[in-house]
Symmetry: C2
Subunit: 289 residues, 2 copies
DNA sequence: GCGCTTTCTGTAGTTATGCTACTTTTTGAT
DNA sequence: ATCAAAAAGTAGCATAACTACAGAAAGCGC
């Protein structure tokens, strides 16, 4: 993977925002222009930016150095990258003042950069371990509440791709009961963005104690992982604003996609043919008038 | 809205990949270098790139023009931006030969570009009409099966943001019953990527006949829309390959995010405070040991 | 195959952009 | 009020990007 394409170091807009207050007066004027219209700045020339900020060219150069760029060229490149990657960085929270267009843009952007982020952070070896476990499972149970419950249910629906009986108990009692019944050769997958949801943690613990393999899909290292054989930490760009929707769902769903697809790929040809047949019949059923 | 910052037009790497075969011989050599190491190219100088590709500087410039850039500067900027998306939508299908890394990359890329696509295609006025309907609704019911059922359920969970009683009947019978009970002031939202699912179409028809407002979330113009007051067509990049996961879910979920957020924004301050409180209490409940 | 046109590609020269060395101004402390 | 240190600007230089032109290669009718 291209290391230059990820990491916070790369997120120039954020750096600028953070350091703005500690900058020299003139540099700050440059910073303001950059933050206000990064899209324009990217295609500006040094002289143009200097003029726009009302400072001299060398000041702009010094600004570049101050925020950790090699020079103006470097600034442009880093800025362009930062813009696409975190269109959201400058993303102001959603407020009552936003018109519909702004809300649409913000939500899409937020979800997109979040997925991007998740991709760059997802540990391939952990995924491999998870696939190993799942591919060998006799039975798979997915545990999740709320938004994560949606993810668990989605995973359970992917049953045909897994080629293994899958369940996703909906309430806490069913969850306990199910976890208690698991044993050697079974796998429990806990989904919880916070990783703190008590019922999920307990269910995984019970499952593990009974000899089942356990996988945790979460947004951060957390208590849940104490009871997980495999930890899939899907980092999300935290944002606790009032109207920010649950973005973690999407990343988690993609992880489910990856797991189910990878497991399916390990199956034999006969299995693949059954999937093809299933898809065809489903389409037929849907299409019939 | 920064139009240059979204849409597929922006994905230079993809443009290069698509046009590569139609380029002049020397230009193609440049294209190969760009595709092979876009990360390097971004921080290269014109002369360096020319040397790396084994061609003259003007050739590189002509290459820039050929793929739709203003000049070398522009190429760098666009390339940097495209890189952050880091996805040549070269979605070759997923096959049994792919290793895990490839599968991960492909699934993420496919989902990401699909979201991008959906964003550029989603009609703001349709969304506005949907929000108008939902904001005034007395009760909202979401209908969906399979993957779309997940979306419906997610929408139903967003109940607190809507501030309106929401339902998402799971099976066909419940769906009919629910649809039959809807009336003036109620809203039915049908989710179906194909737009052909019989039960959903019927449920919407029934709801509409009974005087309820109807909204359709679908991947293409389809029979379902005949019974919809508002059509939210969320175009997806079609791909019928065996292992391609259901990508439409994600776009549809984002649409739900947008709808619920926009509806919530129309509520008053008291409503917002209740959401804040709800979030705080939920976090507390989760966190408790 | 030959001359002709058309399309590519490279050389050399021009513009203008980014950067540096140095000077002036401002700020702040004694 | 004076001086030292930091900040901002001026002017000039090196280099990078671009353009005009000319030579080479490829297509095409005869």
């Amino acid at each position: 993977m291209d290391h230059a394409a990820n990491g916070l170091d790369d997120n120039l807009l954020e750096t600028v925002l953070r350091q703005k207050d500690e900058l020299r007066k003139s540099d700050r004027r440059v910073a303001e222009v950059v933050l206000a219209a990064p899209g324009e700045v990217v295609s500006m020339t040094l002289a143009q930016l200097a003029k726009a900020a009302g400072v001299s060219e060398p000041t702009v150069i010094r600004f570049c150095a101050a925020i950790g760029c090699e020079g103006f060229r470097d600034l442009r490149v880093k800025l362009a990258r930062s813009m696409a990657f975190a269109r959201t960085t400058s993303h102001t929270a959603i407020t009552s003042e936003d018109d519909l267009g702004a809300v649409m843009t913000k939500i899409f952007d937020y979800n997109l950069s979040n997925l991007n982020w998740a991709q760059s952070k997802l540990d391939q070896e952990a995924v491999r371990a998870a696939v190993d476990l799942l591919a060998g499972a006799r039975r798979i149970e997915f545990f999740g509440f709320g938004a994560s419950g949606i993810v668990a249910r989605d995973a359970q629906q992917k049953f045909p791709l897994f080629g293994t009986p899958c369940g996703a108990p909906a309430d806490a009692h069913q969850m306990y009961m199910t976890a208690e019944m698991l044993g050697d050769g079974d796998v429990a997958v806990g989904v919880s963005n916070t990783g703190h949801t008590r019922e999920i943690v307990t269910a995984l613990q019970v499952a593990q104690e009974n000899g089942a393999g356990t996988i945790g899909i979460t947004g951060q290292p957390s208590p849940m992982l104490d009871h997980c054989d495999v930890a899939l930490v899907v980092e999300t760009l935290e944002n606790t604003d009032l109207f920010t929707p649950t973005v973690s769902r999407l990343s988690h769903l993609v992880v489910i996609d990856i797991l189910s697809t990878a497991v399916s790929l390990r199956r034999d040809e006969a299995h693949h043919q059954r999937i093809t047949q299933m898809k065809a019949r489903l389409a037929q059923r849907r299409g019939s008038p």
